[in-house]
């Protein structure tokens, strides 16, 4: 009879208790899976959105906590374009107007014909002049917009919908694009852009050019577009937030396992004494107890992953979120969740296992 067989039998002995313990771990794991998946999807969408253009370097204001707060003088676009090795520089304003129908809506202020980003038009056409807007497919559904409809921003600005596009990136498909001048007007940021995308000449050194831009304009941060998200402090904060949640989930889960396993050991003192009396080593008893708690952790991972995926699916289907984060599953998230579930189980089992090791056969056989 293998040890694994005995471990599973022991867990099946108190099915409801084992299931509730796994569920306790699973709830923590579900939060982690949902949080990590949403974060990973958000980062992935943001990266895809940034990299969907042809920019080699992205320039944003230095020392701002959030990209939404970045504000650069539009005049720097021309100065950057004048640098050696730069083929083209384009300014884009990111505006975040608030609507009741969708909590998150990005309005890009740029000229789509000249933005370097590709928009696949599914209905209508690209914007050509001020007073026009084209919206992503998800935004069109969220706001119930059709060609010819007007979209109102604030009290004075109305933009006419001239096109619907689809990029396959939730962040962009839930957004809208208008001219830079219109976006500046809506946000009252005349002469300002949030980001400058820089396309280099073939063979130009991206790192050296970025350094030159920063020397020329000390108030900006110029980064290769594939490294841009790493420089954003709000994304770093997300990582820290996830770490805190993971630690809390591990502690919570470990306490649940600890409680269950301590109860289980106290109920089985005599049994453990018999195992030792018939020749089981301390190591084997230790492996049995830790094996039971580790399997509870793995069960918690399975339950938590299922619940987490369901939660992500439901959340990303909500109109307020679907234009912001897409439903995509990252295997790395499940690997982390497995590690956390396993660690939770083992951590919760250490104290009961050490308790079991102290049981001598003689004491246990006399225990009632």
């Amino acid at each position: 009879m293998s040890l694994l067989f005995l471990i599973i039998k022991n867990l099946f002995r108190q099915r409801v208790r084992s299931l509730l313990t796994a569920l306790g771990i699973g709830l923590g794991i579900a939060v982690i899976v949902a949080l990590f998946t949403l974060t990973a999807s958000m980062v992935s969408d943001f990266s895809a959105s940034l990299e969907s253009g042809e920019s080699d370097i992205l320039v944003a204001q230095k020392n701002v906590a959030d990209l939404a707060l970045s504000s650069i003088d539009e005049k720097y676009v021309e100065q950057i374009e004048g640098l050696e090795g730069v083929e083209k520089a384009r300014g884009v304003l990111l505006a975040f107007p608030r609507f009741e129908k969708a909590a998150f809506f990005v309005l890009y202020g740029e000229n789509p014909e000249d933005s370097g980003r590709e928009y696949r038009i599914v209905e209508g056409r690209l914007i050509k002049a001020e007073g026009e807007i084209m919206v992503g497919k998800i935004a069109a559904e969220n706001f119930d917009l059709a060609l010819g409809d007007k979209m109102r921003f604030g009290s004075s600005t109305e933009l006419g919908v001239v096109g619907v596009y689809e990029k396959g990136i939730a962040l962009d498909d839930g957004a809208g694009v208008t001219t830079l001048a219109d976006a500046q007007g809506i946000m009252e940021l005349k002469g300002k852009v949030s980001l400058i995308g820089v396309k280099l000449d073939f063979g130009a050194d991206a790192d050296a050019t970025a350094e030159k831009i920063e020397q020329m304009i000390p108030s900006v941060l110029a980064t290769r577009s594939d490294k841009f998200l790493e420089t954003q402090s709000d994304f770093e904060s997300l990582d820290a937030f996830n770490l805190v949640f993971s630690v809390v989930a591990i502690i919570f889960g470990a306490v649940v396992v600890l409680n269950t396993m301590v109860m289980s050991i106290f109920e089985r003192i005599r049994e453990i004494g018999v195992l030792r009396a018939v020749g089981w080593t301390r190591t084997r008893v230790l492996a049995m107890i830790l094996g039971e708690s580790a399997i509870l952790g793995i069960l918690g991972f399975l339950i938590g992953s299922f619940l987490g995926v369901v939660a992500v699916f439901v959340l990303t289907s909500l109109p307020a979120v679907r234009g912001f984060i897409s439903f995509s599953l990252d295997p790395a998230v499940f690997l982390s969740a497995f590690e956390i579930g396993f660690a939770t189980g083992v951590l919760g089992g250490i104290f009961p296992a050490l308790k079991a090791l102290k049981i001598t056969p003689l004491e246990a056989l006399g225990y009632e």
Binding site: M1, L3, L6, F12, V274, V278, P361
Partner: protein, 204 residues
């Protein structure tokens, strides 16, 4: 007995047991019978003196688990079976982790003790006598040279007790196992080849 505040369970005991012998140990409660059994079975160590079992000095040897697993079969008064495991699985417990076809051996042992048809039954589904017979099969799974039985019939009716004693006698006579039986019951002790009496921690 108390010695400077410590309980002395056995004192000045000198005992030799021959290989294949059937020895009965008698004495009143608290006399030290079970302690003697626990020392021989390496469940406890003596504070002083020498204790050699099957050529192994139990005072000096460090790994008592291995000794217990390979040389000793225990039968307790309370069968001490694991309630959620079947009779077959309970018999296999001492062999867990060891290489070999222990499953067929466990089946044979259970058939030998008359439980061939009860392999899949769990202890709560068995009578007291049947549980004790499962415990006997469990004690034999690792082919022990010595079987230590502590009041094996103490918790069963007289008919089941006779059945258990018949099996234990067979172990000694047919398999050459050294059998040490602790019992209160004089009639059971009379079945042994030799009987010793313990009183206040001494052989009398």
């Amino acid at each position: 007995m108390f010695d400077e505040g410590r309980t002395v369970a056995l004192n000045g005991v000198s005992l030799g047991v021959e290989r294949g012998e059937f020895l009965a140990v008698q004495g009143p409660s608290g006399s030290g019978k079970s302690t003697l059994l626990h020392l021989i079975g390496a469940l406890d160590r003596p504070d002083r003196g020498t204790l050699v079992v099957d050529g192994v000095d139990l005072v000096k040897v460090r790994n008592l688990n291995r000794f217990r697993s390979e040389k000793i079969g225990f039968i307790f008064q309370l069968h001490n079976l694991i309630p959620h495991l079947t009779a077959l699985e309970n018999v296999l417990i001492p062999a867990s982790g060891r290489k070999g076809d222990f499953e067929s051996k466990a089946r044979t042992l259970l058939e030998e003790v008359g439980l061939g048809s009860r392999l899949g039954h769990r202890p709560p589904q068995l009578s007291g006598g049947e549980r004790q017979r499962v415990a006997i099969a469990r004690a034999l799974i690792n082919d022990p040279k010595i079987v230590l039985a502590d009041e094996p019939t103490g918790n069963v009716d007289s008919r089941a007790g006779q059945h258990i004693m018949k099996i234990l006698r067979g172990l000694q006579s047919k398999k050459g196992v050294t059998l040490i039986l602790v019992t209160h019951d004089r009639s059971l002790a009379e079945e042994a080849g030799r009987t010793i009496n313990i009183l206040d921690g001494r052989v009398v």
